[in-house]
């Protein structure tokens, strides 16, 4: 259980690769099921169409993520003069991480929270709610900043864009095909002598794939959160700061007002906690679990 930040980083990275590979496999399965059920004629245009739509939708928002998220969350970019102490803290983490200085933004909100976005480290933006700056001390805030800068370092905007594209393509594809089924599309399947069992399995795959894709997407998001916690410790070498910050967040029951599902995954603490259907669909690991992992790192003593 007790793992240092290096092994925690390694484990979370491996699990992300595994989950992304599972996503790829799922896409392949859906395409295969479509091929079995509808035949090559229909599939050959529906699959590229679905992938195309998902790509356009997600990659536009990925490329402009810094500006888009600013609008969606109502964050306001600030300069050094507006909050020199916050900038001092961010500069400390910037030095520890070797990353370029990000843009900094403030969200007027009575819930303590923070997020990072941007397509690459040169276009990174980290934002804090007004409340988080009030309730946290220097060490806690440093832990939060390190967590957000870890998302930047680990390119999590890119990872979540890849996950969103695949999940989106699968959802669109499944939607198309099930509609076509009701409207009598894909008649060409009658021409081939398909095994009826294979047809049923294909149908089941088409219907269940979107849920599976959503589960995988949430699982990837959870892994990236754990990874960001571990990377944050590699920057500050102070698991206690982030641990106390998470405890403060856990103790606070207010949630960020903008309850948009679209940007839920980017906050350090999920704003959707109260309504999460189950752990499997959650974008964040349970906060108690994250606190425990950090506590285990603390027990290892000062780390080089």
């Amino acid at each position: 259980m007790a793992s240092n930040f290096r092994s925690a980083q390694g484990a979370n990275k491996r699990k992300t690769y595994f989950l992304l590979a599972a996503m790829g496999l799922l896409t392949w399965l859906v395409a295969y099921a479509a091929l079995t059920y509808f035949g090559a004629g229909t599939t050959s245009f529906v699959v590229p169409l679905a992938v195309g739509i998902a790509l356009v939708g997600v990659w536009g928002s990925y490329y402009g993520s810094d500006k888009l998220v600013l609008t969606m969350t109502g964050a306001r970019v600030i300069q050094r003069e507006d909050n020199p102490e916050l900038f001092n803290l961010i500069e400390e983490v910037v030095i520890a991480s070797g990353l370029p200085m990000p843009q900094v933004a403030i969200v007027e909100d009575s819930a303590p929270n923070a997020f990072a976005t941007g397509r690459n480290p040169d276009h990174a933006l980290i934002a804090f709610t007004t409340r988080i700056l009030e309730v946290m001390d220097r060490d806690e805030l440093q832990g939060v900043i390190a967590h957000e800068m870890s998302h930047v370092a680990n390119r999590d905007t890119l990872v979540s864009a890849v996950a969103a594209t695949t999940a989106g393509a699968i959802a669109i594809l499944s939607d198309f095909l099930t509609r076509m089924m009701w409207f009598g599309g894909g008649r060409d399947r009658r021409d081939s002598n398909q095994n009826p069992l294979l047809l049923i399995v294909s149908l089941a795959i088409l219907l269940l794939a979107p849920i599976a894709a959503m589960l995988l997407r949430s699982a990837i998001s959870r892994r990236r959160e754990s990874l960001a916690d571990a990377t944050a410790v590699s920057f500050t070498r102070n698991p206690a700061g982030l641990r106390r910050a998470l405890e403060t967040l856990a103790a606070d029951s207010t949630v960020v007002r903008q309850r948009s599902n679209a940007v839920a995954h980017i906050w350090i603490e999920s704003p959707l906690d109260g309504q999460a259907v189950s752990k499997l669909f959650s974008t964040h690991p349970p906060i108690e679990e994250r606190i425990e992992t950090l506590r285990a790192m603390e027990s290892l003593g000062p780390q080089q």
Partner: protein
């Protein structure tokens, strides 16, 4: 047909060698950059010191030996070059500063002065920045030294004219932790 196989192998081999060479050179440059960052932060700290000493002097007149220690440590720190010298001077200055801040503890008027309070934030963030710059440097040295010592990069150390670099070690054992600057 065979000629293509031979050319293919040669090309792959060339790509491999270039990649190893570039990796070593890149790691070596990162170490230089990380050391430059330490020097930038040490310079920032050195620039804060005259102001700090003046402020403390205004209230604590009988602590001449402490002031002298800080001023001489600062002079050594600003003239030091090379990793070992800079690290040694850095360690001395870190300790001298701690002494100065301990002195400040004994003067409530000083602790309450606006000038001193303004210095407090600057000083604590600078201490953190120095500590993180050291840590970042050492992380980079560790990556370089690992590459220098492990296969396959170790084969190209001579070609890339790169060698293992010294860690930045501050003598004061306490300085591993970020010093708490509570006044």
């Amino acid at each position: 047909m065979e000629i293509f196989v031979v050319i293919g192998v040669i090309v792959l081999l060339a790509i491999f060698i270039v990649a190893q060479y570039n990796r070593l050179v890149r790691l070596n440059i990162s170490v230089d950059e990380a050391f430059a960052q330490i020097e930038v932060q040490l310079k920032r700290r050195a620039d804060l010191i005259p102001n700090l000493v003046e402020t403390v002097k205004g209230y604590a007149t009988h602590e001449q030996s402490t002031f002298d220690a800080v001023v001489s440590a600062r002079a050594k720190a600003t003239s030091a070059t090379g990793v070992a010298d800079v690290a040694a001077a850095d360690g001395m200055l870190t300790q001298a500063l701690r002494g100065l801040l301990a002195v400040a503890e004994a003067y409530p008027d000083l602790k309450a002065s606006t000038n001193f309070l303004a210095l407090q934030e600057e000083l604590s963030t600078t201490e953190n920045k120095v500590a993180f710059a050291r840590q970042f440097y050492n992380d980079n040295v560790r990556a370089l030294n690992e590459a220098v010592a492990t296969i396959p990069t170790s084969f190209f150390v001579g070609l890339a004219k790169v060698s293992a670099r010294p860690f930045y070690e501050v003598e004061d054992p306490q300085s591993r932790e970020v010093p708490k600057v509570d006044f």
